[in-house]
């Protein structure tokens, strides 16, 4: 293999028919292929290390168009593979130098992969996000901030009072939303095989007027997916303090990592 070509890891599966990915391309436009070892199969594609090597990769991550193209291409392969059977998706940007390194990784981590593949077989991931519902402002914003050095003037005190009242209304609204989100997460966790929370998305990225108070992921038996969706709809009616948004089905991205506690207890 040429020095400047690496292997991008898309996913790890049990058995995988190479014919099922024949003709499909990976993140760098190279043809997908498989590398097998220890009863496991890695779905990989060749990438140019001048673009996907450690340093160029970190540079390219700051290019939104590049990142989006690569993330979607990676997801496309993971999603296609996940339709054929349980897969462990690789985190974006996992690259090996050659087949030997991939085989060594499969052999070394075999027990972890088998555990995770068992956990996710026949299940898919659903995302549920919750946002605060921006209400009417409690008080109108003062048209101008009090002048510096106004001391104990009535205007300054009144401003602070209005400001506190507004804050407390906002805080109450936020607390109600946070409480609702906790309950929603608990109920959905009860309908799922596993649940976890991603950090809430920044408002500038979510594109939502409300604050995100829940960015949940739920691993759900495929047979129970419809009921899960109905539960989300019922919860949306039950908790008016938040607005719910359902996404999916996703390949089980959020449930294929080894928990730190699990790691620590071994």
């Amino acid at each position: 293999m040429a020095d400047d070509v690496g292997l991008w890891l898309h996913a790890v599966t049990r058995e995988f028919d190479p014919a099922s990915v024949a003709g499909l391309t990976g993140v760098g436009g190279g043809l997908l292929r498989v590398v097998a070892a220890a009863g496991l199969t890695a779905v990989v594609s060749p990438v140019d290390l001048n673009e996907f090597g450690a340093e160029p990769l970190r540079r390219n991550l700051e290019d939104l168009a590049w990142l989006e193209r690569v993330a979607r291409a990676h997801h496309g392969v993971v999603d296609a593979a996940a339709r054929l059977g349980p897969v462990v998706p690789a985190r974006l940007g996992t690259v090996y130098l050659d087949d030997t390194r991939v085989r060594a990784m499969l052999t070394e981590r075999r027990a972890d992969f088998v555990t995770v593949l068992q956990r996710i077989a026949g299940r898919t991931e659903w995302g549920v996000k919750a946002y605060t519902v921006p209400g009417l402002p409690a008080t109108a914003e003062p048209s101008q901030a009090p002048a510096a050095g106004s001391g104990r003037s009535g205007a300054g005190t009144a401003y602070l009072r209005r400001r506190r009242a507004a804050l407390s209304a906002g805080e109450q609204r936020q607390q109600a939303a946070l409480d609702s989100a906790e309950e929603v997460h608990a109920v959905l966790g009860g309908c799922a095989e596993a649940a976890r929370r991603h950090p809430p998305q920044d408002r500038s990225l979510s594109g939502e007027p409300g604050l995100m108070v829940l960015n949940g992921a739920y691993l759900v038996d495929s047979a129970r997916a419809e009921r899960f969706g109905e539960t989300v709809a019922a919860l949306a009616d039950r908790f008016p303090a938040i607005r719910l948004q359902l996404t999916g089905p996703w390949p089980p991205y959020s449930f294929t990592t080894i928990d730190e506690e699990e790691e620590a207890s071994r």
């Binding site: 906002g170 594109g207 995100m212 948004q245």
Partner: protein, 71 residues
């Protein structure tokens, strides 16, 4: 989402991309390669993404009184 919610919910493309990023960059390294993104790299992705979105946003959402990002 008040009625008739179906499992295959549709969200606008750009926001679906952020959801996708949460997942393809999900915390916890399970597989280590010769090239592997660290948690710090992942954080940087979000930081540069926010900066980029902020610089290209045409209409910014007005800040809401008393609400802070829970991050």
């Amino acid at each position: 989402m008040t009625s008739g919610t179906r499992p295959a919910a549709l969200v606008p493309e750009r926001y679906a991309f952020v959801d996708l990023l949460d997942r393809v960059l999900a915390t916890g390294v399970v597989i280590t390669g010769e090239v592997t993104l660290s948690i710090a790299d992942v954080d940087l992705v979000y930081i540069s993404l926010r900066a980029l979105v902020a610089s290209t946003a045409t209409v910014a959402a007005p800040p809401l009184d008393g609400e802070t990002e829970p991050r």
